[in-house]
Symmetry: C2
Subunit: 401 residues, 2 copies
């Protein structure tokens, strides 16, 4: 008996099992063969409300998952077994997607308007940052049962929009309150009874934030001031301090992106590389002293400044009218080494876990282009319907992503 | 029809498919249900030549894989999809293990005596470091077909033992030649025609090496001298320089471990934490200047000094007679915060990807103990037969592991 015949037996069996499952039992058999999940990823097809499932070994698309709602500002995180994605939609939808079975496992419309979320260090909790009503909701990653509701009520009757929600070590979530100018640290080790530490007067209008890859520093951008708020999560009791005062937030209006995403900051070695907002420059900042040490001229107003996982290169995309360009900087020499044209309206970049390749979405060309980071040559092009964010499962094992 | 009945159908089908596979086709159906591979791990049961498959979400054992040969000094790496492990046995055996199907996929006895290996950045190649005959063999990770044989012939007719084989970025493997005092960098982007760069006179008798988590620094320990050899993989043309001269290698003989494993070095923030060989101390070294900045007194002669993934803690185990102790150091205050007694003959420690837990093997108590790294309390104990190394699949996405 050959492999094909054997395959036919198995296929028949699967059909039988599937029929059985339709009679009431939960579906089990949903993959053709076992596969590892370490090399999988999802591409957000924003206009279609759909995710495309890809794998980064053979550089192929494996299928699609539909019905995700409004994905116009979507992001997602992964379960610790790298099987499920938790997708945060702009419409307040939280959707749990099964990558192996390529289907929606659970979905809740948990708020009217939300901006992103995070998964706890132990993987048991998913938290969502909401604009309306302002606050954070915490769900079981297993069932999407609501475990905690944390209204961002900073004064009696006043709720703030929540932004910059990040996971941190020792069972914590950290987030910022736009109208309140506050950072809150939520210890969720008892999920139904989160313990909140409020840090006040951190600066006007925090609009986004990041946690450094080591989980130590929480940095919030300030919409109302020309600087950022820095919190040492190893010593939160010491409070928040101001860094990079006068670094140039918004001196010229940006035509498309109001602000670059702070999560686009690259930490390479002891330096942080970040977009000089409103200028055609990338800033280099010493991550020990948080002082600026250099500015690198680039092709436009940078949006994402992403470090290759080894920190040797940063790759930069830009706001209109330069959003068809990606530039590569050598962090060691600080020289611009290449200007690439991946396609129209480059929205996002994602490196493979060990950095040999980077995937770049070109929304208006309906494609994703994969580059070799050693040769800087394109390796593959995948069709995609208005692609925006690209997320690989290796994020499951990282802090603050 | 209920789930049990359905399960019975599937089981019957699997038996049929298995019978079919015995008639010549490769087995396919080998798991009860789809599962992600992001939270899996393997524990080496050294005496039995067996691997135990575990998962770090529910903290349970899932099964065992037998027939691995001599695992007395075994290590392993993972395929980039986190489905397969490549196990390097002391007997020269290279075994490809399928975690999902819990079986050996392929096995070759590729040398008489080997010491470890690495997987290439792109995941396509597995390289093994051999003592006898001295050299490196490079295999296809898909089929275990031999693609390149690199004899470590440093003078006509003289072959050195190869140690400290590590993967690096831009398609390279790096390794050291014990008798030759050389470091070789092999560019394997054309696997059948590797390009070798030889770095000579690096110091006497390199015995082990590490690559820093960012992939930049290759550091070889020197058995014949009191110092280490440092190579900047970003600028290998600048050659090797000596660091930490007189740091105290082997001033007192060690009763059990000749040398600590260099891969046990912890890089936390801008500091490297390493065992002060032969002394009851852990050294703190500035990873910018490679100068020693502090020494922390500990309970015995340290073997592994491992950093929690966020770098906030280092965990240390010890040589005889203190090998029943593990100590925890706070890297921020540099204070010893806890002394734990996980069991007899602690051989290895492995952190979960985001560091909320650490798994510790206690060989002579036939168990693995899992600790919560926030509370430092034990969370679970798993029986294991003379456990040594513990390896989680998150290594698939890391450089230099």
């Amino acid at each position: 008996m050959n492999g094909t015949a054997r395959h036919r037996i198995l296929r028949g069996c699967r059909a039988l099992a599937l029929a059985a499952s339709m009679l009431g039992a939960p579906a089990l058999a949903c993959t053709d063969a076992p596969r590892g999940t370490g090399d999988l990823g999802l591409i957000v097809e924003r206009a279609a409300g759909r995710l495309q499932l890809v794998e980064t070994t053979g550089l192929t698309a494996l299928g699609a998952i539909d019905g995700l709602g409004d994905l116009s500002h979507a992001s997602l995180v992964y379960s610790r077994d790298a099987r499920y994605a938790f997708v945060f939609g702009r419409d307040g939808g939280l959707t749990k997607v099964d990558l192996l079975c390529r289907r929606i496992e659970a979905r809740v419309l948990q708020a009217g308007n939300s901006i992103g979320g995070a998964i706890s260090q132990d993987g048991r909790l998913v938290a969502v940052a909401n604009y309306a009503p302002g606050g954070v909701k915490v769900f079981s990653s297993d069932t999407l049962e609501l475990l905690a509701d944390i209204p961002a009520e900073y004064e009696p009757g006043k709720r703030a929009k929540v932004v910059g929600l990040e996971d941190a070590t020792d069972g914590r979530f950290v987030f910022s309150l736009f109208e309140a100018g506050e950072i809150w640290v939520a210890d969720v080790r008892e999920p139904r009874a989160p313990r909140i530490t409020r840090l006040r007067n951190i600066g006007a209008q925090p609009y986004d934030a990041l946690v450094t890859p080591d989980g130590r520093w929480y940095i919030a951008g300030l919409f109302g001031e020309d600087g950022l708020a820095l919190l040492d999560l190893w010593e939160p009791e010491k409070g928040v301090r101001r860094i990079l005062d006068g670094y140039g937030r918004g001196q010229e209006p940006l035509p498309v992106y109001k602000m670059p995403h702070l999560e686009g900051w690259a930490i390479a070695g002891r330096h942080a590389w970040l977009p000089a907002i409103g200028r055609h420059e990338v800033l280099v900042v010493d991550a020990d002293t948080w002082q600026e040490v250099a500015r690198i001229p680039v092709a436009g107003q940078p949006v994402f400044v992403m470090a290759r996982p080894d920190g040797r290169q940063v790759w930069v995309n830009f706001a209109l009218p330069h959003n068809d360009v990606v530039q590569v900087i050598d962090t060691h020499t600080r020289a611009l080494v290449e200007t690439l044209h991946p396609g129209k309206a480059v929205l996002h970049l994602e490196f493979t876990p060990r950095g040999e390749a980077v995937w770049i979405s070109a929304r208006d060309d309906d494609k994703v282009v994969v580059y070799d980071t050693a040769t800087l040559a394109p390796r593959a092009t995948l069709p995609a319907d208005k692609p925006s964010g690209i997320f690989f499962t290796s994020r499951a094992g990282r802090i603050g992503l």
